[in-house]
């Protein structure tokens, strides 16, 4: 341990590294940025869409990566939850493996470019999984540690059903045949490409937390764990 003086002297250490390092990087970038020359600069016009967007993925491509991320997150949570639910529910726990397999397999279909058929299958499958979840959280299963009553909502199942709901919402434009490749949708294309990292990043973070929660036996929430209602996986 370090003393109080040392504590104060190292205060903000990690933050300082990022602030100072980030400041240097930003300043360097600002000073070395290429200056715009020629008619475009003097007229104040922006870059031509055709060139500027050449390396950006299309809206359809960005959407498929985001949807694949959501499906992957839900699949990982279902896979992680399967062992403990086999213990609780017996063969009914296979539903978790089926859900995980469906959502994992659908990723490849989605990344190939979400066709209307793939979108309909994705919506049907994920709505069915979400309805099964809603049944257990409102009416309840006749077997298991919460037999006859609704199960509490925890982080893993809440996250999984949120991913499924977002997935279904994201697939609606595909089903409705909205023209995602239209050239005038430049802003949408930029927004969709920027959204990949925050959305997929949050999915990865939440999925990691949900998986840890399942591993420590908190998949039905802290209250259920405290009361001993949940049977943890061996």
């Amino acid at each position: 341990m370090i003393g109080h003086g040392g504590h104060e002297s190292v205060e903000l250490l990690a933050a300082v590294v990022l602030v100072v390092g980030g400041g240097i990087v930003t300043l360097r970038m600002f000073l070395t940025r290429p200056r715009r020359t020629g008619p475009a600069a003097s007229s104040g016009r922006g870059p031509e869409p055709g060139h500027a967007q050449a390396e950006l993925p299309s809206v359809r491509r960005s959407l498929s990566v985001i949807l694949a991320g959501l499906s992957g997150g839900a699949a990982v949570i279902h896979l992680a939850a399967a062992p403990s639910h086999y213990v609780e529910l017996g063969d009914l726990g296979a539903g978790f493996l089926v859900a995980a397999a469906f959502q994992a397999a659908w990723i490849r279909w989605c990344l190939a470019g979400p066709s209307r058929r793939a979108a309909l299958v994705g919506i049907t499958g994920n709505v069915a999984i979400a309805l099964a979840w809603a049944y257990t959280r409102t009416i309840g299963l006749p077997i298991g540690p919460f037999a006859g009553g609704p199960e509490p909502v925890g982080l893993p199942d809440g996250a999984s059903v949120a991913f499924e709901a977002l997935l279904v919402l994201g697939l609606l434009p595909v089903v409705r045949k909205v023209d995602l490749g239209a050239a005038h949708r430049r802003l949408l294309r930029e927004a969709a490409s920027i959204a990949i990292v925050p959305v997929v990043g949050l999915v990865i973070v939440v999925t990691s937390l949900a998986t840890v929660a399942i591993a420590v036996g908190l998949d039905h929430g802290a209250d259920a764990h405290v009361t001993g209602a949940h049977v943890a996986a061996p």
Partner: protein, 132 residues
């Protein structure tokens, strides 16, 4: 050094610092951990967030190039802006963290957010002009 290399450098720096913060947190030292005297107060959940987002930053640094990397750095800034606002609104992230985030944590979040947004924006401009 081109702006593309600078954005890679920033993603690498952010990735290394976040991964290091995540790993150090598990060691529960006096600098970072769940102890009452820890400089950067975190718990295991918060450590996982730092570790995972650090790995994402390292993927952006070494797995992407050009316009895609610049866009991803910008997106990483958006991700950390969301994290900053969420943790600022609720230091325990609505009860998920057992240890409330302290000032250095907020500084880390906003620094990563602001610098990533600035670097990503400028790198996108450079990549666009190079494409022309």
């Amino acid at each position: 050094m081109s702006n593309q290399n600078t954005s890679m450098m920033w993603a690498t720096l952010a990735g290394i610092v976040l991964v290091a913060a995540g790993l150090l947190g598990f060691l529960n030292t006096s600098i970072i951990g769940s102890g009452s005297g820890a400089l950067i107060a975190t718990d295991n959940i918060h450590n996982i967030v730092h570790l995972v987002t650090g790995l994402i930053a390292l993927y952006i640094a070494f797995g992407l190039k050009g316009q895609q990397q610049a866009t991803a750095v910008l997106g990483f800034g958006v991700l950390y802006l969301v994290i900053f606002v969420a943790v600022l609104a609720s230091p325990t992230l609505f009860g998920i963290f057992s240890v409330a985030a302290n000032a250095p944590i907020h500084v880390i979040h906003i620094a990563v957010a602001v610098v990533s947004l600035a670097v990503g924006y400028m790198a996108r401009g450079s990549a666009t002009m190079m494409a022309r």
